[in-house]
């Protein structure tokens, strides 16, 4: 087979597999950024945005954190409509809301309120990224990974000349391989 024909097939494969891979590439890269920062400690949770605020609430009159007291706290923070349940522990009560909680220190009256918002779309992408689904999805994601390998390899031979793999392309490819290797070298 002539080089010209080989290159034409290479470019066709690169183009079409690239089109097929774009959905999964976006899913893995967007959720990858989120999981990367979650792992680094920048996010409290990969699927939910969580924010915290400190507040002061009155202590229970008889020292007992019962449902009446819980409702009085929720009245103060205007979250009565979102009440789910509460538990008591050693010196504290934790009130669960549909989107967060209020944690009250029963010795000081200091409280922490968590509010959480669902990251719709990203939550589903994280589910795919973690492969929580397993079953057939394991094979599908393997197939995608093979497709990505093919896109990478065929990508090396798309262009000819000084921008191709024998010119500028070689330098850029080398940089792309050396950079992660350097991280391994210096950080492990």
């Amino acid at each position: 087979m002539q080089i010209k024909t080989l290159r034409r097939w290479n470019n066709v494969l690169h183009r079409d597999i690239g089109y097929l891979c774009i959905g999964m590439t976006l899913i893995y890269s967007i959720s990858g950024i989120v999981l990367n920062h979650f792992k680094s400690g920048d996010f409290q949770h990969p699927d939910y945005g969580k924010s915290y605020s400190d507040l002061k609430v009155p202590l229970p009159k008889d020292g007992k954190a019962d449902l009446t007291y819980v409702y009085s706290v929720l009245d103060q923070v205007k979250e009565k409509d979102h009440y789910k349940s509460f538990i008591t522990g050693d010196g504290y009560v934790q009130i669960f809301l549909t989107r967060g909680y209020v944690y009250v220190d029963l010795n000081t009256g200091e409280a922490e309120m968590e509010r959480k918002t669902t990251r719709y779309g990203i939550k589903e992408m994280n589910l795919l990224h973690y492969n929580n689904l397993k079953k057939l999805y394991t094979w599908f994601s393997d197939l995608y990974a093979v497709g990505l390998i093919l896109v990478s390899i065929t990508g090396l031979f798309v262009l000819r000349g000084r921008n191709g793999i024998l010119g500028r392309g070689a330098w850029l490819t080398a940089i792309g391989i050396i950079l992660p290797a350097l991280f391994l070298l210096f950080y492990t």
């Binding site: 789910k84 349940s85 538990i87 522990g89 549909t98 939550k123 589903e124």
Partner: protein, 184 residues
Amino acid sequence: MTKKLVPLLIVILFALVSCNLGTKGTADTINNDTTLLAVLTFDKQADSCIDKPVIIEGTVLHLCKHGGKRMFLVDGTDSIRIEVTAGPKIIKFDDALVGSRVRVYGTLKEERIDAKYLNEWEAEVVKPEENHSVGIHTGAKGHEDQGVQEKLDQINGMREDLRNSGKDHLSFFSIEADNFIDLK
């Protein structure tokens, strides 16, 4: 026409997935040998139910944020926390379950911790990189953000418990969930 329909279909598909992706379970048929457990009496009942089907109800106190494969149930107070792990049929435990009352259908599992395990765990903890899969999960507030010293204290505490127990191992019980229902 097709050119206009394809992006529209993609958007509709994602919207449907986002709206419908839930983790609510439905109960399977219950076997006659299934034991009904209670959170507050769990420690007394667990010994006799190892590797047997069980049902337990409780309030979700905490969920493992790394993949949602583990949750802890309490009942009114946090003094007793029951660890529930997601079995193969469960995709994940969603963080929205925190504070909800759930009924879990599963199998009771025992994990035995002996001196060898504690030594291996200690070796893992002192390594620079954290390995979340090794060690005992307590479900206590902030347990996932424990530092090295706190983990070493936990290991030494278990060594003492092991010595005091007069046995060659400590038993930790958990439930591997096949299914669960959010009772609200």
